[in-house]
Symmetry: D2
Subunit: 261 residues, 4 copies
């Protein structure tokens, strides 16, 4: 058999076969964002009985995975997550995977997924994983700091809109409405209408947990200031998870080195 293999070796031209590979290099000196999204997580969250509209443990698991990704891949300078999605920002001049899009995306998605399965038991000790969770990913380049900030603002605005809608939706369902009735009741409502609706259920939207309303930012922080304005004593460099308003310039002004790139 070796003989026949030896003969077969001669037939194969690796250079020709390799010539079909193509570059998908992202333009240099731009902010690359790799966004990871859960595949069919609607179904996944039902199969694993996530609390609606927000499952705190599921979000904590996502945040834990994001922190691990930031610790593993040092070219990441910021990340923002909400629900089953997480956006990772690479520093502007990163040469991670030689900026080949497929490789960058696949490595980050794979590591994130690996962590998600490994850490599942820590967050859901009573629940077995019924089937493998799966994420997709994509890379996008943003040529300036301003547009990158616009991207992040867009994600946080989406978080707010979706969270307010979902909170209303599930309150209506819990109150006895069908899902279709709940959808119809919300059709065309504005932010103010939804606030009023929630108050009828005794919910003051702005008092809901900030993690649900604002999503989570994970990034390398050198110090952390507590609610009383005191340094929390941890001056070492570590990845922190916060739930700030990342639309307002003040967040970025206070942490100028995050995107100094």
């Amino acid at each position: 058999e070796l003989g026949s293999f030896t003969k077969d070796i001669g037939k194969v031209e690796p250079d020709y076969i390799r010539s079909f590979q193509f570059e998908d290099k992202l333009i240099p000196s731009t902010w690359v964002v790799v966004r990871i999204d859960g595949c069919h997580f609607h179904r996944f969250s039902e199969a694993h009985e996530f609390v609606k509209p927000n499952d705190e443990q599921a979000i904590n698991l996502m945040n834990t995975c994001a922190v691990a990704v930031l610790k593993e891949f040092h070219d990441l300078v910021f990340s923002y997550g909400v629900s089953d999605e997480y956006s990772f920002v690479l520093k502007k001049d990163s040469q991670f995977c030689q900026r080949q899009a497929s490789e960058m995306v696949s490595v980050l998605v794979s590591f994130f997924t690996s962590m998600y399965v490994m850490k599942w038991k820590d967050f859901f000790p009573q629940k077995e994983l019924k089937y493998p969770p799966c994420f997709d990913g994509r890379a996008v380049c943003y040529p300036s700091y301003e547009i990158l900030r616009d991207y992040l603002s867009w994600r946080q605005v989406d978080c707010h809109i979706n969270n307010q809608y979902n909170t209303c939706f599930w309150e209506l369902v819990k109150s006895g409405k069908t899902k279709t009735e709940a959808q119809n009741a919300l059709k065309g409502t504005q932010t103010g209408d939804k606030e009023k609706l929630l108050r009828q259920f005794g919910i003051e939207y702005n008092e809901l947990p900030v993690m649900f309303r604002r999503g989570s930012s994970a990034f390398w922080g050198t110090t952390r200031i507590d609610k009383n304005g005191e340094c929390n004593g941890n001056s070492g460099k570590r990845v922190v998870v916060q739930h700030c308003n990342i639309i307002e310039p003040s967040f970025w002004d206070a942490l100028p080195t995050i995107l100094s790139g």
Copy 2:
């Protein structure tokens, strides 16, 4: 706060931000191969004390993941794996992920990784995962059946060359040579030389397990013929793992529907 968010919503222009997304659509009517590779698996295999040169359980785990991938994603028509890599072939006219490369690659890598972590305990009941395993991936298009076959042949030839080299290398190391001495001893040797060397260690290369010498093919088989030429009774459609010579046309002639796609 809602108020300020409401104001912020107006600042964000989703269409503008989305305009930075770009298509990476693969050319239609070509065979797409997504190849998954372990990241830093040299280190991973040492940390988890894989048997050298081939760890049967580690390969069985890879094959189990590949089978799960084929069962999950029905556009996959064939797969071939060796060591820490696995190639998945999509049918020629697949519209999986609308043929967007990053999405296709990330979904397959993520699912494979998820399975790898979930099934780890089944194959290594005595070993804890010390850190998250990670795979990268890339997609390549092959415009004809012939070139696709050349690609698969290339991977199997590589399997053979690497396996023969590694078998010699580890025999030399077990016999007391340092790794550097073993490398030097093998420099410039041909297939025939390596066969002779192995015989000195009492090893007949062609009698080594066929899974190590030929790698593994996972695909949908409708029936399976046993060693005596008899049907094994399972005529149902299921994913089989075989260790065939996929370079020779006879394999493909016998299973013409695999790539008829």
Copy 3:
């Protein structure tokens, strides 16, 4: 000043600047078609008073340019043109411009344009070029001979549909209708309706010049058979322009070497 330039030289990092260049390599072993289209040729044809619906001299000029392109770039194996567009087919394994799309397209468009201006006087001795004619171009890969043939058929079907429509339209306009009236009169008409309409103007569509009805194919022909089935005596290899039905297999069967590539 040289001094300051010398200083400036040091500031420039060519490798960094070159790193922004990107590959746009077309997949190997596929049929590349570069299609050239006149930019705003509606306006150009009016400014230069082209005969409507078809200006024989304008088409002859296009064909002359195509012939020159085929003579200059030997990787082209076939071309088909109609109105102000021309499609050039490169042989499947062409390495023209290392298959970089922008370079391939720009070179062919530039040469074609150059020829168009140079040869203008030969076809329009009484007319000055009022402003520079301009063409755009794009490259598309077709992975198989069958799909390439489908592409060419599509262009010829388009030629037929457009020509029949335009012939009707201009007859109606010549008969005194406004352009809007002519458009409305043709709305929803089928091929048969248009044939009848033309007969009212004394025109038998199938007797119109074949160049208008079928477009033009320019390619390397070794011999040419005249209407009586006789060889025209020119057995030398040269680029010929014909007006054949390129949808029917018989054309390709008779000239099997054209796309043997």
Copy 4:
């Protein structure tokens, strides 16, 4: 025949054929530079007996074409040319050709070429075009004003280096050396060495025409200052050709609106 065509129409599926077209959209909000280069202009310049090392009329023709390009395509905000190349800068948010690279490049190359042939006689009244001149083109994105400036500086540094080399080379050839001898004589020489060499031929490099030493910039200027520092009275908006040092910030400071985007 119409009958058979009617039948053939049914076989063609335009949507399927169009699906092979692919996007090559350049990333938004970046400076796109389309650089045009003469194909085989070494040969072209010999065939048309261009003066060496610089043919003033050939450069004037290039500049005239560039001015016409700027007048025709209003998204161009700056251009710089030297020898047989010209770089065109599009404004950062240009939607020219929907930012499709092949189309942008082909249109600009085609228009430039068209103009080159049309204007040839104005600059070379005694010389017939012996064959069609041809240019290639490519597009590159620069994500910031600084990198765009670096690109332009790189081209001007190249102009200086090449011009000084060529001036020396042709002086040596005119003095009786063979081309090979001239090349050898210049091997390893620095800027200072070349200046000295030229002085031996009675040439003060810095007194050579500024157009040869610095190349040409064509751009929309609102006013023009003459040698005496006076406004030339033409305050209208028109395309000017200047031979400035575009590496120094002072040029850009004086004309802040050029790249204001």
